[in-house]
């Protein structure tokens, strides 16, 4: 985007070499670059964690002498990586919502985790309706997933816009605690509203996606890697593919369209961009729409992956995604991606390794997420990719 030319050089246009030409091309900016970035993040996080996992396995032998931790890790490594990447993408997509809103309004939308929950509930409703009408098995699975995604994204996106319009816009300019408390209120309201809705209509609020009834999702794909074969869940592949496509689209919207330019302008300086003719309120609404849509999509994908959800499902993924957003540097879209993938892979590795230490056990993985959050906030509150922002007095 930036050239090395100085003002004096201007008249003589610098000769663009091949590399620069490639960098300016559409394919590079909107396809190769974002996908390459994801691959690098995944590879980096995976390699780092693999090394750590083996180091732990060698340094702290499992309490049970019959288990050789190194061979166990050898066997489980591919599975851990795939589940880590898929859950990581889910966290990234939620973290994007936090980060987009923070970038524009400098405010943490506490109710964002509920957009995720509403998305997964919508996905359930749609899938259940398809099943009840008997078309679930007839439809092309890809078409079905696409349809569910669109429904979840629409509902969550519109809900996010409404939330902003009704509850946050009247409070713009109020002390910082005020919108925060409103967001907590909305969060509880939405959880209970969804719970009540399902409790009245279905008499229960454990929502089980009819995923098992589909042949495609019932049996995992067997992939042979060397001597070992790994069972890869179809839903994991589905999450990864959908997430990559959506993130590429988001990158295009933010960096390649007029709308994205408007959002970035509002994020930099609301008053100035307003004076230059950007419709600030519209841009803020659209930011909420995009963030909500990504949250909803993540919710639906997450729901298909875990099978059963409840209205309370948003809390932990929301908190982890927030941690991811802070880890990457809040307000930074690439940071949200990096943070989400890192947290997802860390979690998968912890779940894989901690099983062998019964005294610690998986029960404490959630505490570890909080500890990571607290440590980042204390030692590097700007995150990995965040820029230092001085407090305005």
């Amino acid at each position: 985007m930036s050239t090395t030319a100085t003002v004096q050089d201007r008249p003589v246009a610098p000769k663009a070499n091949t590399l620069e030409l490639v960098q300016q091309s559409w394919i590079y900016r909107f396809l190769l670059f974002p996908i390459g970035q994801m691959l690098i993040f995944i590879a980096g996080a995976t390699i780092l964690l693999t090394v750590i996992a083996y180091a732990i396995a060698i340094a702290f032998p499992a309490p049970n002498p019959n288990i050789d931790l190194v061979t166990q890790i050898n066997r489980q490594l591919p599975g851990m990586i795939i589940s880590g990447v898929s859950i990581g993408f889910v966290y990234s997509m939620i973290a994007l919502g936090y980060t987009l809103v923070y970038g524009v309004l400098q405010f943490i939308n506490f109710a964002h985790s509920e957009l995720f929950m509403v998305g997964s509930a919508t996905g359930f409703v749609v899938m259940k309706a398809l099943e009840d009408n008997g078309v679930l098995k007839e439809w092309n699975p890809i078409l079905m997933i696409l349809f569910m995604l669109v429904c979840a994204m629409t509902v969550s996106g519109i809900l996010a816009m409404l939330m902003e319009r009704i509850a946050y816009r009247p409070l713009r300019g109020a002390p910082r605690l005020v919108p925060l408390i409103t967001a907590i209120g909305i969060s509880f309201f939405l959880i209970d509203f969804v719970r009540a809705g399902f409790a009245i209509t279905r008499n229960e609020f454990n929502l089980t996606y009819p995923v098992r009834s589909l042949e495609m999702f019932a049996t995992p794909v067997r992939v042979a890697i060397g001597e070992t074969t790994v069972n890869v869940r179809t839903t994991s592949i589905m999450i990864i593919i959908s997430a990559v496509i959506m993130l590429v689209i988001l990158n295009y919207i933010v960096n390649g369209t007029k709308l994205g330019r408007g959002i970035r302008a509002v994020a930099q300086d609301q008053t100035m961009s307003g004076l230059l003719g950007v419709n600030v309120n519209l841009m803020i609404s659209l930011t909420f729409l995009i963030g909500g849509a990504f949250g909803g999509a993540a919710g639906m994908l997450f729901g298909m992956n875990v099978g059963t959800i409840t209205p309370y499902v948003g809390f932990l993924p929301g908190l982890k995604a927030f941690t991811a957003a802070v880890l990457g540097g809040i307000g930074n879209i690439t940071g949200a991606l990096l943070g989400g993938l890192t947290i997802g892979i860390v979690e998968a590795f912890l779940n894989g390794v901690l099983v062998y230490y019964p005294a610690l056990g998986q029960r404490y993985t959630d505490i570890l997420t909080f500890s990571v959050l607290i440590l980042i906030l204390i030692f590097r509150p700007t995150g990995i990719l965040g820029k230092r922002v001085d407090e305005k007095v």
Partner: protein, 463 residues
């Protein structure tokens, strides 16, 4: 307040007399409304919603009216120490709600120190409450924990000692939480404290293996109670005899009465400490931090010490109340300390008015009534109507067809969420705002109104 309008200020004596008379009439009407009703009538639960709410709000009314101080505090003492216990003996559920109100008012005042005075939004306040509750619980519970197996249990007489220990342990935990989050502000502080609250709850749930300390998700049962002094037994029996009631278990009533008295005592202590702190140098330092941290630091307010002091003070109230709560409930489990509980306490502070002691107490009364009295009684009323197959007139709707899932008591989070949102949008200063905050908001409004006049007539907010 009255002296500002000199010309037509009524005679202060007459005002006081009027106010006293009104308060007295209010209390008498409320008490009569509670006593003179047939408890078996069909509409009793609905009636009860209004009657007891009216009575419970009377202390706030007495405080707010311009009654001369000696009469005011004398009246309050009579109300809290004689009338309420008598009513509580007459109908035990009134005592129960009164104790719960004292407990939650104490907690809300503790949170008010952190949120209202120092402006640090703490979403994990319930953690300190949990620390106090578990402290007393693990040392007296009859559950098979490591304490019981090793014979480390303490008798109920130690309650008073543990009340004090609870204060210090909770204050210590408050400082432990405060230290890492000192540099955080606003949103980050909120989310870290939320995480801290969850960590404490997860620890309580999981600390049953390999060493069983908290008995995990099953919770601790048979928690010890402070022994009831003979005098209180005598008073209870006498009261029962005077009101010629038939009570199956006077010992239980006396125990409840003891908890009520402890709760009132603790609450009064907390109110006095809060009041004294509010206008002390520490309280002013907190206000300075709340209003502008950078300016406060520049003026020489020791940020670290003052923030830690706020966390420790707020936490210590929570710890003491927690000990009392564990003893009263005789059972604690991790579900009593979920995030919703923190949010409910926060709602009390917000509804009443952040930083206003009177307001926070009003908020605690209102929210506890809503939670434990209004919603419960509405559900009871619904069931009563269902049992007699009541049909709503005019629209001919049989109550029996009302879905089971639509019972009011099941909608706590919905209602509390809505209360928070509506309060923030329409009355952010609370029902009974602190004087300082009222002035601030007024100034802010005038300022923004002035700006609007100067600016070109544009659609508002649309830059």
């Amino acid at each position: 307040m009255a002296s500002t309008t000199i010309t037509n200020a009524p005679n202060p004596n007459r005002r006081a007399l009027l106010a006293t008379g009104f308060a007295l009439a209010y209390v008498v009407v409320a008490v009569l409304a509670l006593i003179l009703v047939d408890r078996n009538s069909l509409w009793y639960p609905l009636y009860n919603v209004f009657a007891y709410s009216m009575y419970v709000l009377s202390p706030i009314l007495i405080i707010s009216l311009p009654i001369p101080n000696p009469i005011k505090f004398g009246g309050l003492a009579i109300l809290l120490l004689i009338v309420t216990p008598m009513l509580g003996i007459y109908n035990n559920s009134y005592m129960e709600i009164a104790v719960q109100i004292c407990i939650f008012a104490g907690l809300a005042l503790g949170l008010n120190i952190v949120v209202g005075f120092a402006g640090l939004l703490d979403l994990g306040y319930v953690a300190f409450f949990a620390v106090g509750a578990y402290l007393w619980a693990v040392f007296t519970s009859t559950s098979e924990t490591v304490f019981k197996l090793n014979g480390w249990l303490v008798p109920g007489e130690m309650f008073w000692v543990f009340l004090v220990i609870g204060v210090f342990i909770a204050a210590f935990v408050g400082i432990l939480l405060g230290l890492p989050v000192l540099r955080l502000r606003g949103d980050y502080l909120a989310i870290v404290t939320l995480g801290f609250g969850e960590v404490i709850r997860i620890l309580a749930r999981n600390a049953n293996d390999p060493i069983n300390i908290t008995n995990g998700a099953q919770g601790l049962i048979g928690i010890g109670k402070p022994p009831v002094p003979d005098l209180l037994h005598g008073i209870t029996n006498e009261a029962i005899r005077i009101m010629s009631l038939r009570v199956d278990n006077p010992g239980f009533v006396a125990q409840q009465l003891l908890f009520y008295l402890i709760a009132v005592g603790l609450l009064v202590l907390i109110i006095v400490i809060s009041r004294r702190l509010e206008d002390s140098p520490i309280g002013r330092a907190w206000t300075a931090i709340r209003e502008d941290e950078v300016a406060a630091k520049a003026m020489g307010v020791p940020l670290v010490r003052m923030k830690l002091a706020a966390f420790a003070t707020g936490a210590s109230f929570g710890g003491a109340i927690g000990v009392l709560y564990a003893a009263k409930q005789a059972f604690v489990d991790p579900t009593s300390f979920v995030l919703l509980q923190s949010i409910i306490i926060l709602a009390m502070v917000i509804v009443g008015g952040m930083g206003s002691i009177r307001g926070v107490i009003l908020g605690a009364i209102a929210m506890t009534l809503l939670n434990l009295h209004v919603l419960t009684n509405l559900s009871l009323q619904l069931n009563a109507l269902r049992n007699v197959n009541f049909i709503v007139p005019i629209i001919d709707f049989p109550i029996r067809n009302w879905p089971n899932q639509l019972e009011p008591a099941k909608y706590q989070p919905l209602i509390f969420g809505l209360v928070l949102v509506l309060m923030m949008i329409f009355r952010p200063e609370g029902l009974m705002p602190a004087e300082r905050r009222k002035l601030e908001l007024k100034a802010e409004r005038e300022e923004s109104a002035g700006l609007d006049e100067q600016a070109a007539p544009q659609p508002k907010g649309d830059a």
